[in-house]
């Protein structure tokens, strides 16, 4: 993974073909506080990268930078081969249609029904027939097992249900990249595992590239040690001795810098004191 960073600058077509997201020497500060200090990493196509770090480490900022919602002070960010730091807001709207984002507090439109929330992007595209919109909305809600909530308002749902509707809204157009901002934050363990199962399902069934921010280490380890079994329709643990999913890697942030970027076994055997304390 790190070797990609030291290679000569890849061409735009290489970037688009193999790499979903790449950050190169990205720094950003808010009101004088340096939040990210020259971070670089690469998210390959089909890979899921789990972002760890203490609160305020800049994890959510990375997702917003990838979407072009905020601009970095320095560095470049390529998403699906496009340099988002050089794009105007109008050009970014096109690119964002290929990316799904699940916000920390779901960010559902509270004046719209669940159906309209999930259908939002499809309706905005205008050229999709209403019957297609309806069937795709139902399919997305079926994916998160919430088809019965179609006509409810977001305020009538529990926190976990809102998070699942937010996932349905993000996946309804089958985007190439998914960004999850603390999808299990503040939820009970059972609901959290259910949401992780949905993320694993999306990863293994649709092979979507994803960045996932989380505070919960077990979320990341479950993702690395489980796969989605389409026959049973559930997430199952990899058999003993079976290689853990190579498509899930970890990135740990500390004081605005990347202190670890690699797979689960490397993380488990890392000798850095801070990382050992963090994962203990």
């Amino acid at each position: 993974m790190n070797s990609l960073l030291t290679r000569p600058q890849p061409s735009a077509s290489d970037l688009a073909r193999h790499i979903a997201i790449s950050f190169e020497d990205v720094s950003i500060s808010f009101e004088g506080n340096l939040v990210l200090d020259g971070i670089s990493f690469v998210l390959e196509r089909g890979e899921t990268k789990v972002l760890f770090g203490v609160a305020g480490a800049g994890k959510s900022t990375i997702l917003k930078l990838a979407l072009g919602l905020v601009k970095p002070d320095r560095g470049s960010i390529h998403v699906l081969g496009h340099d988002v730091t050089q794009m105007r807001e109008e050009e970014l709207f096109e690119l964002r249609r290929q990316i799904g984002m699940v916000f920390q507090e779901s960010a559902l439109f509270d004046s719209l029904k669940v159906r309209e929330n999930v259908a939002y992007r499809l309706i905005e595209e205008k050229d999709i027939p209403p019957e297609d919109v309806e069937s795709r909305v139902r399919e997305a809600l079926r994916f998160v097992e919430l088809e019965r909530t179609l006509d409810l308002m977001p305020s009538e749902l529990s926190g976990g249900m809102r998070r699942r509707v937010a996932i349905a809204r993000a996946i309804v157009t089958q985007p190439e990249i998914l960004l999850y901002d603390s999808p299990t934050g503040g939820l009970d363990p059972i609901t959290s595992t259910r949401i992780i199962e949905l993320i694993v399902k999306q990863r293994d069934v649709y092979k979507t590239s994803a960045l996932m921010v989380t505070h919960r280490l077990q979320d990341g380890f479950i993702m690395a040690s489980h796969h989605f079994d389409q026959k049973s329709g559930h997430m199952v643990e990899n058999a003993p001795g079976e290689k853990t999913d190579a498509n899930t890697s970890f990135l740990i942030l500390r004081d605005g810098k990347v202190i670890f970027d690699g797979a689960a076994p490397e993380l488990a055997h890392n000798t850095d004191e801070y990382i050992k304390e963090y994962i203990s």
Partner: protein
């Protein structure tokens, strides 16, 4: 309370004006760009226009009435009570109709826009909208600006008319003026220039109300407290701007011979 340096204060103020000007410019440019959210415009026109009708009717009526009451008393000292209709019509059409309608709509709708957009901002719904590929400027700001400008024009006309009717009630039933004399005076004293001035102002005020309300909403931060602050600031800024712009636009239009 944290003290802020004068330099930072000036910088922040200049930045705020720049951001507001940028948002306002975008809202106008977006009218000529696709996609246009016509249904959102109609919905906002209903909320702003039809929703504001009761307060505009009441304000217009009682302003015209009290104007007649006050001026007739003064005019009576010079034996010119018959001019009451003229004073009411000129005051209402040139000045009080647009300004009071503007202040009422600012109180009702600038606050509503700031609180609605502010709530969306602090709950990340604005970011979600951008993430879903929709321009909040086109979807939220332009329909509100267009609807407010459009409806303020008609609300001012209604307010003017109700003001004249209020003045008539006082003049006829309380002062004892002749009905036809009152209406002839109000009608004959109005020149095209007066009406033009009375119709230009609400358009400007409508633009101020919506752009200021949306600006404060979209720049809200700091949770529910931030939304409350944005709402208050929006009403205060819109109201003060209406009165300041009213002075300068009146002077400008008078200079142009209106």
């Amino acid at each position: 309370m944290e003290l802020i340096s004068p330099v930072d204060y000036v910088k922040e103020s200049v930045l705020a004006v720049q951001d507001w000007a940028e948002l306002s410019g975008q809202s106008i440019r977006n009218v000529f760009k696709k996609p246009r959210y016509v249904s959102d415009m109609v919905y906002q026109a209903d909320i702003i226009g039809v929703g504001s009708l009761p307060i505009v009717v009441l304000t217009g009526f009682f302003t015209g009435a009290v104007l007649a009451l006050q001026t007739s008393d003064t005019l009576a000292r010079f034996g010119s009570s018959s001019l009451t209709g003229q004073v009411v019509s000129l005051s209402m059409v040139r000045e009080l109709g647009p300004v009071l309608t503007g202040l009422m709509v600012a109180g009702r709708n600038a606050s509503g826009m700031a609180s609605e957009l502010g709530s969306m901002k602090v709950t990340e719904q604005i970011d979600a909208m951008r993430a879903l590929g929709t321009d909040p400027g086109k979807k939220l700001v332009t329909p509100r600006v267009a609807a407010t400008v459009f409806m303020m024009f008609f609300l001012s006309i209604i307010s003017d008319l109700l003001g004249l009717i209020g003045g008539f009630f006082v003049s006829y039933f309380m002062i004892g003026l002749d009905a036809s004399q009152y209406w002839t005076m109000t009608y004959q004293s109005l020149r095209n220039e007066d009406v033009t001035m009375g119709l230009i102002k609400p358009v400007l005020f409508g633009f101020i109300i919506a752009s200021v309300g949306c600006y404060y909403g979209l720049s809200a931060k700091g949770g529910t407290q931030g939304v409350g602050r944005a709402t208050t600031q929006a009403v205060v800024a819109a109201s003060v701007l209406i009165l300041v712009v009213d002075f300068f636009i009146t002077r400008l239009l008078m200079g142009l011979g209106l």
